[in-house]
Symmetry: none
Amino acid sequence: MLLVLEIESEKPLYQQIRDQIVEGIAAGRLVPNQTLPSIRQLAADFGINLHTVNKAYDQLEREGFILLRRKTGAVIQINPRLAEDWEARMRTLLAEAFAKGAAVEHIMQQCQNILTGFQEQRNANVSLTDEGTNQ
Amino acid sequence: MLLVLEIESEKPLYQQIRDQIVEGIAAGRLVPNQTLPSIRQLAADFGINLHTVNKAYDQLEREGFILLRRKTGAVIQINPRLAEDWEARMRTLLAEAFAKGAAVEHIMQQCQNILTGFQEQRNANVSLTDEGTNQ
Amino acid sequence: MLLVLEIESEKPLYQQIRDQIVEGIAAGRLVPNQTLPSIRQLAADFGINLHTVNKAYDQLEREGFILLRRKTGAVIQINPRLAEDWEARMRTLLAEAFAKGAAVEHIMQQCQNILTGFQEQRNANVSLTDEGTNQ
Amino acid sequence: MLLVLEIESEKPLYQQIRDQIVEGIAAGRLVPNQTLPSIRQLAADFGINLHTVNKAYDQLEREGFILLRRKTGAVIQINPRLAEDWEARMRTLLAEAFAKGAAVEHIMQQCQNILTGFQEQRNANVSLTDEGTNQ
DNA sequence: GTGGTCTAGACCACA
DNA sequence: GTGGTCTAGACCACG
């Protein structure tokens, strides 16, 4: 669980946790059925409050990224439904770049690069896992 | 200056003002060197607080979309430098879709559709403006 | 704001608050654009903690029943989209009655009675409001 | 006794057991006087704790779906009395849909569809049972 | 041990 | 004043 929390950031701590776990899934560092640290454990590791982690995990569960169980804690389990406001959020973000005069091709290239990065990381993680099971 | 402020919205008023101006620029309704209403004018028109409008204009200036001048008020003037956290925000949003299993091609197609929509609006506004100057 | 909270109930306090507000909307006691008590106010009125009320309001906002604003507090505003798991929850509840041997007609009649009750209360509340504006 | 327990589910194990038995009764797969596996048998079959199964059976007995006997184990025996909070739970669920603006007719139609589904399953199971006794 | 809930008290951003 | 976040510490249900 690689997490880098910045206490000084304007982004809430629980949002930082949530975002990094989502990125971890996208990059294949976190795979379905993998267990995340317990709420208390993660809070202790980073010296933050239990409720802050709880709020992040709670949101991740509602968004369909993880499943919270009493005994085992949190496990990755993807519900493939995409949030309904995803397109609206994407629209605002793209408008910001387009208004700055960025060329459509350039914006698309940046998106492609990010996605390709996820894909390569995921492939790398998959082959690592495969090697691990083959040994 | 078409502005539609929804007092009932979950989005802060200053954020609504900022977002609509950004979308207006993206769609070509607002072009460089065009003057925006003064802070007190806009506040009076909508019956909202001066500070609210001030905050929106302030953010737009910091983001490089407008230039605030003492006498002339606010004018659109695009600073093509993108916000430094734009890529990070895009990264998080793309991760959300990719983590849910969406295909790269599908995500890219959605982005393309949104951007094409902006382009068409801008083209429509540009030709309207041309007709206007021809009269 | 008629709220009856039972501290001894097995149902969490925040869930009781959430459920009663939803029922209040169904019965027309709470109508769109009506303001709810502030989080602190409601917490003080019932001698419970601010965070408990906050959790209820937070859920209501996510479910599309209310809108939370910094200045004015919480206002009723219906997003007509129904929760996607609504049918699954209804299915479980109906199975419970059907397994007990309840006749389909009887179950349907109970549902009808409840819904008719909401409808009548709503109509009564509407006419009260009308009389109020006419006076 | 077809039981499919999902260790990954958000629902507690004992609740899954309870719900599936209730749905089994509703669908006619489980009929009065039919014996259920013993607590230790079912726990062994699924490799889960005795307490977990015990809790499910305990709840089913309190709800009036089964009868626990020392020697014979658990047998289906319907106590037609509905849980006293059934109507309250139904009320909340119906309020949710009605508050969102759903028409009474539409809500009723959905309930009817679900119940008709149960009825058809039960009829199918009954005829299967009849054929079985005829052999 | 886990997550789920509730309490108590604090600081900040918003308008 | 409002809601939003974070902290600290407690008890309970679950397995």
